[in-house]
Symmetry: C2
Subunit: 147 residues, 2 copies
DNA sequence: CCTGAAAAACGACACGA
DNA sequence: TCGTGTCGTTTTTCAGG
């Protein structure tokens, strides 16, 4: 894990569909060499997945909310959240409440329906997202991650 | 926007580096056809970005937290958050507090440092992530997004 | 880590349901 | 209009050095 690897990760976070020739050009290597480095980063688990960000708006989902949840039964709530198509993330947290769940849903009415089903499982507190000044900023290495 | 497009989006959310031939095979089309569909999805803004998920752990960032923030000056706080390398997301919210900020940092000590700098800008409430039962679940279309 | 050749995939065009 | 088939070019892969 040297600086070239960091540059590779930075470029791939920006555009996962770069060809190895383009990527090599950006980091100063030839395509077979950079291909081998990418293969190792995948193998080590540094690269977890190549994914595509799609517009929730364009898919008819206009409302994003975070829901703080104090469930009666944790396992039951996780099962509910994991199987619900509107749930994008669900985090177990320390501090206030037990879970923080990110929901991307069609309208305030479908959000209401989601909250209603939550009410049978515990006590939800809803935070509706108005805008996102920072969205999915790339992760940078901390300093010497030499392994 | 028909069902084939939904399948394309689903496949690309799982693996953004699929070749057009592989993608075509998965959705039942030949490569020129699926290439044209992908081009249109990009043009329409349905596909926003091809990105790579990297392991925060492997890059030396072991602590994830959400911070609810009540800043004295909103613009000042957004500027601070946007320029801080540990901030991955920052959302303006309605409900309790004004901002919800996702921070991925090295240790509890670097988190403490982040919170300290927040304290000069307002009143933060920290929620440390213990685990994530649901992480970045793909977005599915809602029903008839015919445009 | 680079070079070079074979195999595969990409992009563009003309054609057909 | 949308999908198919083909050709020339680019990219990937794998042999070496």
């Amino acid at each position: 894990m040297d600086e070239i690897d960091f540059n590779i990760l930075s470029e791939l976070q920006e555009n996962a569909r770069l060809t190895m020739i383009e990527l090599g050009r950006k980091v100063g290597l030839t395509s077979p060499t950079v291909t081998e480095r990418v293969r190792r980063l995948e193998e080590q688990g540094v690269i977890k997945q190549y994914t595509t960000q799609v517009s929730a708006e364009k898919l008819g989902r206009h409302v994003t909310a975070y829901i703080l949840m104090e469930p009666k039964d944790c396992k039951q709530y996780v099962q509910f959240a994991a199987s619900h198509p509107d749930v994008i993330e669900c985090h177990r947290i320390a501090g206030m409440y037990s879970y923080l769940t990110k929901v991307v849903t069609e309208t305030v009415h479908t959000l209401e329906a989601y909250i209603d089903s939550c009410l049978t499982l515990g006590k939800p507190t809803t935070l509706i997202v108005l805008s996102s000044p920072v969205a999915n900023s790339p992760i940078q290495p901390v300093k010497s991650t030499s392994e």
